[in-house]
């Protein structure tokens, strides 16, 4: 159809633009879109609004984000950044442009999650959540260990095996939680809180997940989870992913382990093998101590015995014996009574001292003299009369008293 040459004018620019605007702005689809593209022509004037162009290989789309939304966005926009923008399509009548009125911008694609990670990390770091002073010591010898991880998967099995091998004395409280997906962050937070609420509390909590893609580990970068880790009363060892994976929960935890197994190892610094060694050493120490105690007591005993020997009457008896020998040498026949007396005294003493070799007086040639008739011991010459019995070492014999000269001698003195 050819346009008629003198067609009546139906539109002004304004009314047409208004018409187009109505067309676009009443389209339900266009009022709720997520558009992916790369940022270019980024401009942030003093007004606080953000202007940009979103483009891909084949097209470009003007976009604006009003100040109210712009201040809520944590993303630091840059030209060239791949983003997904949410908003509605509208028309800027003055400029004759349709454009995207954006209310949310997210980083997407390669590095997008990493950007988000860096931003949250910076935010929480500034809050001091990762400060070293906040870190608590992991107890050396835990009695109860809490575990937060998925009930399925290798992580829980690895950790239980490690704990069983290293320190089966402990009690494990397992608080299962999904570790990926949208549910994971609130469930992880719940599990940590439940372990913190236990009485008695576990001595340490292992927060763990096996390896996976960066998206799989994302729950451990969730702000709620990171805050729960930092806020836990119980020290937390975080073992998420592999050696090279770092999550924000790792930063907030009191100790970072490269893997779940390593987390279980770090929680059990002392193993049963080491405890057994300790125990053997202590057993040995006990015996040594007792032995040295016994030795000391034994030495005390020896020195007491020596002291006792020094003070013992046996010394006196020896000197008596010497004295006796002298007496024996000097004594004449009359002295024999006294000697006999000494001998019998000595015998009495010797009898009391069982440890001593008794003095065999008689074997030395002395004799005991008694009266034959009544057995009275003849201690004095004057007692010796009539028949007497004389005992010597191998027996006795009887004799008659002939005279008592010594009595006379004694009298003369």
């Amino acid at each position: 159809m050819q346009p008629s040459l003198f067609a009546s004018v139906q539109w002004t620019v304004s009314t047409l633009t208004k018409y187009i605007r109505d067309l676009l702005e009443t389209d339900v689809t266009l009022q709720d879109v997520w558009v992916e593209g790369e940022i270019s022509n980024l401009s942030r004037p003093a007004s606080g609004h953000i202007y940009f162009t979103l483009k891909d290989a084949g097209a470009s789309l003007r976009g604006v984000m009003w100040k109210t939304s712009a201040t809520r966005s944590k993303l630091a926009l840059q030209d060239g950044m791949a983003v997904a923008v949410h908003g509605k399509i509208g028309v800027y009548e003055v400029g004759g442009q349709y454009q995207l009125y954006a209310d949310q911008i997210r980083a997407v694609g390669e590095g997008a999650l990493y950007q988000e990670f860096l931003q949250l990390k910076a935010l929480l770091e500034a809050e001091g959540l990762f400060d070293m002073e906040r870190k608590r010591l992991i107890p050396e010898f835990p009695k109860r260990i809490g575990i937060v991880t998925s009930p399925t998967g290798a992580a829980i099995k690895d950790m239980l095996n490690t704990l069983r091998r290293r320190l089966p004395l402990i009690e494990v409280i397992f608080a299962p939680s999904p570790v990926q997906g949208e549910d994971a962050p609130p469930k992880l937070v719940e599990a940590l809180a439940a372990l913190n609420d236990l009485d008695p509390r576990p001595d340490v909590i292992l927060l763990a997940r096996g390896g996976g893609s960066i998206e799989d580990l994302w729950a451990f970068n969730d702000e709620r989870v990171v805050r729960a880790v930092a806020g836990s009363q119980v020290p937390i060892i975080c073992g998420v992913g592999h050696e090279t994976d770092f999550t924000l929960s790792d930063f907030a935890a009191d100790l970072r382990a490269p893997t779940p197994t390593a987390a279980a190892e770090l929680a059990t610094k002392i193993s049963v093998a080491e405890l057994t060694e300790n125990l053997q050493a202590i057993g040995l120490q006990l015996s040594t101590l007792l032995l040295s105690d016994l030795n000391e007591q034994h030495n005390n005993l020896i020195s007491l015995r020596d002291g006792l020997r020094f003070l013992s009457p046996s010394r006196r008896i020896q000197s008596d014996r010497q004295h006796l020998d002298e007496l024996a040498r000097r004594t004449n026949a009359a002295g024999i009574h006294r000697l006999a007396l000494e001998a019998s005294r000595l015998e009495g003493l010797e009898y009391q001292l069982e440890a001593l070799n008794p003095l065999h007086i008689l074997a030395r040639g002395y004799a005991v003299v008694t009266l034959l008739k009544d057995g009275t011991l003849v201690r004095k010459v004057k007692h010796a009369r009539d028949e007497i019995r004389i005992r010597v070492s191998d027996g006795e014999f009887d004799a008659k008293v002939l005279n008592r000269d010594s009595e006379i001698v004694n009298r003369k003195r």
Binding site: F141, K143, G146, L160, L163, R164, L167, P168, L169, I170, E171, V172, I173, F174, A175, P176, A191, A194, L195, D197, L198, V272, L275, T276, L279, I282, G283, Q285, L286, S287, L289, L290, D293, L294, Q297
Partner: protein, 78 residues
């Protein structure tokens, strides 16, 4: 004075309490004067504690409980 042998029978002691008592006995034997009788009975108690601890280490089995909600349940592992 060394810690008097606890009235608790040795069979009831946990590893931690048995080990703690053992350590106090060693310290007592090391540092204090006592009669031979006391030494002997400390030593005997110490040896019994060593035995108890060793048994506990030998027999120890990891106890695993599962927390669901606020309830603790034993879980049977396959």
């Amino acid at each position: 004075m060394p810690k008097a042998p606890s009235p608790k029978s040795i069979e009831e002691l946990t590893y931690e309490s048995a080990f703690a008592e053992l350590e106090s006995i060693v310290a007592a034997l090391e540092n204090e004067q006592r009669s031979l009788d006391e030494s002997m009975s400390l030593y005997e108690r110490g040896q019994a504690l060593v035995k108890r601890c060793a048994e506990l280490l030998d027999k120890a089995e990891l106890k695993v409980k599962q927390l669901s909600g606020n309830e603790l349940n034993d879980i049977a592992e396959e």
